[in-house]
Amino acid sequence: MTGIGLGASMVQGIPAFGREISVEEALTPVDVKLKKRMADVALNAARSKGATYADVRIGRYLNQVIATREKQVQNIANSESYGMGVRVIANGSWGFAATNNLDNDSIAKAAEMAVAIAKGNAKLLVEPVQLAAQKGFGEVGWKTPVEVNAFEVPITDKVSMLLNANSEAMKGGAKYVNSNLFMVNEQKYFASTDGSYIDQDIHRIWPTFTVTGIDPSGGKFETRNALSAPMGMGFEYLTPKDTEKIKGGPVTMYKKRYDLMEDIKEATVHVAEKLKAKPVLPGKYDLVLDPTHLFLTIHESVGHPTELDRVLGYEANYAGTSFLTLDKWESKRFNFGSKAVNVIADKTEPGSLGAVGYDDEGVKCGSWDIIKDGILVNYQTIRDQAHILGLKASQACCYADSWESIQFQRMPNVSLAPGKTPLSAAEMVKNVEKGIYMFGRNSYSIDQQRYNFQFSAQLAYEIKEGKIVGMLKDASYQANTQEFWNSCTQLCDKNDYRLGGTFADGKGQPGQVSAVSHGSPTSRFNGVNVINTGRKLG
């Protein structure tokens, strides 16, 4: 869709839930030599039919989902999708075809079809594809550095973990609880006529829950979702570690180790508090935004408008275009945010969802500035866009969500750099006179050029004269992107920096999803417009 899919819909929402397979089968990777042979069949067939460039992606996408509610397991699914996509340039135009029949004949036919489609599309071409040069890397590999492969942990252990968490919530007074664990392993092999043969093994994990509380007399209900993050990690993310926690605030915060039992206990208390919370008085507030919330604001208001394909109009019919037009970048003076705002695009940060060795067109990953001291300095590009920005190389932002999808420009990790002056979140709150401290993502909506947005949080605490005085309900903030980032006055330091993210950023027609992280420290935004979204029916 147009933004991030919600957790509740994820069971159906993850694509490539093809064939159900056993865990044992999933753990045996396809032989690299075989993959190289299959790739060469496709590359040779494409070249012989007239392709001036070709790349091949052989993908094996494994997913495991465990979904529970209260005392029951609702769904356990292992699945696999395996096949090959071939992309070519012929007569200056792109062509693409995919097959899940991996015998030599079928592979060659797919390559031929890709060339035929490219030649057909060339008739409608306005200008030929200009591909940034890319050296071949030969035979190389990359793996997500996992400590514990989540697919190797017995299902019964994972089920028990979720059911124990549910039980903790029910004991604490929750009326309902849903918990889910999503695990993804992308075994991807990329080869191109540039001379690269890249084998990658990518892992992602996301534990999450929703605790629901009900006030039966008033007929009201409230929920609190997990404050975990989807991560580019193994099962070690679910082993709590005190050094990866930040305590002392109204909520325990987690870095690269998550404590499911602790968070669900706190969530159960929070739900009861939310049912009794005071409605917010609309007006201007200084917002203190925790990374569990701020990541989504960064995603929508910085990540999307700096996607170069949106800027150029390729997403005009679906996700929209961007207010960050090329003239603003060319001026080198466009004040996206205050001087405190430094935003970095990155495909390497350990534990992040975007971290891979190479992107889906064989470019080695790195990081670069997007916003420097508040000024727009760069976008996110792929090989056929780099020349538009005068770049000699792609920024490695190419991704396809399946072997059967066409790779295109997708968002890298886009993160807000921490402040250089030592500052904790607790110290930040002490200096706020009239403010709201927000945790967790909730409702989010932004226009098609990314000017006007409205966000709300899982938890909103009122700050009065430097002290947290209680919980608020019905608080949403509305802002203009440029005004909002220019109101950013203070950032906590690197000790407070954490990753948030999503498994399901949607883009393209037919739609594709991608996983992306956004890091940030707790940050302060002054004088933001807060509205009360409470309504009464009949």
């Binding site: 356990i76 309902y176 039966p216 209900f221 005009a316 207010f323 909506s445 037919p510 417009n529 009464k536």
Partner: protein, 445 residues
């Protein structure tokens, strides 16, 4: 594997069931063949063909069940997927909500969901349709970005209790955004049909182009409460959130806008203006849908909201049995009964108001009141004394479809429309609504 006929599907499913050693076994089979073209900056950007088939086996021993899926159809694979479902069932904990599979059902006459014309569509028909759209844009020196897709699909199911169901359908979807070269105007159109011959890509592009040209030099007016006329595309994205909320279990559990204090629901209550009638009908010639759903229950004509009163909620088989209520599956499509006025007539009868042609990025703000937020997009216009006076800048709104349908002024004619949020097709009218709440302005075009 091509689209299977009823007889072919029956033969394949019978074979799969013959491998079963479980107490109960149910098999669902789905397949589709189709293609698409995407274009932007007035040129084709991507195109492709997609063919998929999938077989889902559910095996059960007592209240333990397992599900396995496969997309390979040789005998060994078919037997393997049945064994795997059985293994998973034996490993699974007992599910107290597991329901025995249904026996044979009556589904009534076939619904006209299949069109030969759409099934015959290939790359040439797609390219011609897109060319017509591109030419229309080029004639007016406008930028076109659009997407055309078509598919032919079938679904079938069979179980060890003797149930068999089959349905074949086609659909074609087209949506187009036209922007002026200076980027100051934007217009949109979306169309969806079962029958490709009803699709006029040139006509739809002309509608989007007209909106794009008319929306240049939009003026900013103060946000606040306004009388609005929502075109059917805008109505779809608001009302579908109400349709999604007609779920019995969530209502009974006290966690939806259909819940009332003390564990009661709003069924039987006057929730909306008495002119609001919402129903589903699998045999409606303008919006035909399958006559059965994925668990084998028949789809029927159902009145969900009658004269503004909530009449029925949909439910799972388990919840229906537990609560002793009618076992109604969620419908394949929803229809709101329309009036007689055209959009032009609604505008003519409006003293002051705003014409909203599209709403987008709709998100739930408060599930209890069904409060939604989102923005206008691709053409918003100020109406005075029965005429469109000038384009206005886009607004953000915060509004609930329940409140909206209590502030109902007039209902236009119903037409087939598509939700740009969920891609679902509906039959919906344009609506004139009082006191629709716009909360801020957006600079987006």
């Amino acid at each position: 594997m091509a689209i299977l006929t009823k007889e072919q599907a029956k033969a394949l499913l019978t074979k799969v069931l013959s491998y079963s050693k479980a107490e109960q076994c149910e098999v669902n089979l789905n397949g589709s063949d189709g293609g698409n073209i995407r274009y932007a900056r007035s040129s084709v950007s991507t195109s492709g063909g997609i063919s998929t088939n999938s077989l889902v086996v559910t095996s059960a021993f007592g209240k333990k069940s397992g599900v396995a899926t496969i997309n390979e159809f040789d005998d060994a694979s078919l037997e393997k997927v049945v064994r795997r479902a059985e293994e998973l069932a034996q490993l699974a904990p007992e599910n107290p909500e597991f329901m025995d599979f249904l026996g044979p059902q009556e589904y009534g006459p076939e619904s006209p969901t299949f069109s030969e014309a759409t099934a015959a569509m290939g790359p040439k028909e797609r390219a011609d349709a897109v060319q017509a759209s591109l030419n229309q844009a080029k004639e007016n020196k406008l930028n076109a970005a659009g997407f055309l897709s078509n598919s032919t699909g079938y679904s079938a199911m069979m179980n060890s209790k003797g149930l068999f169901a089959y349905n074949k359908s086609t659909d074609v979807a087209f949506n187009i955004t036209i922007r002026t070269e200076d980027g100051k105007g934007s217009g949109y159109a979306t169309k969806g049909y079962n029958d490709y011959t009803k699709l006029d890509t040139k006509g739809a592009t002309a509608i989007a182009a007209k909106k794009a040209m008319a929306s240049v030099t939009a003026k900013a007016i103060e946000p606040g409460k306004y009388t609005v006329i929502l075109e059917p595309t805008a109505v779809a994205v608001m009302l579908e959130n109400l349709f999604f909320d007609l779920d019995a279990r969530r209502a009974d559990e006290g966690r939806s806008s259909m819940s009332k204090p003390g564990g009661k629901t709003k069924v039987g209550e006057q929730l909306l203006d008495e002119r609001v009638n919402v129903y589903s009908d699998p045999w409606n010639p303008e919006l035909p849908t399958a006559t059965w759903n994925g668990d084998g229950r028949p789809q029927q004509k159902v009145n969900w909201i009658e004269k503004g009163v909530v009449k029925n909620l949909y439910t799972s088989m388990y919840w229906a049995a537990k609560k002793g209520i009618k076992s109604l599956p969620s419908p394949g499509g929803a229809i709101m009964q329309g009036g007689t006025k055209t959009l032009e007539e609604l505008i003519k009868g409006t003293e002051k108001g705003i014409l909203v042609t599209r709403l987008w990025y709709i998100r739930s703000v408060d599930p209890q009141t069904l409060l939604l937020t989102g923005l206008t997009r691709d053409g918003t216009f100020y109406i005075e004394n029965g005429e469109i006076k000038f384009p206005v800048k886009n607004f953000r709104f915060n509004e609930s479809p329940i409140i909206m349908l209590n502030n109902l002024d007039e209902i236009g004619k119903s037409e087939r429309t598509v939700s740009a949020e969920s891609d679902t097709n509906y039959l919906l009218p344009a609506l004139k609504i009082r006191d629709f709440t716009f909360t801020s302005l957006s600079d987006a075009v």
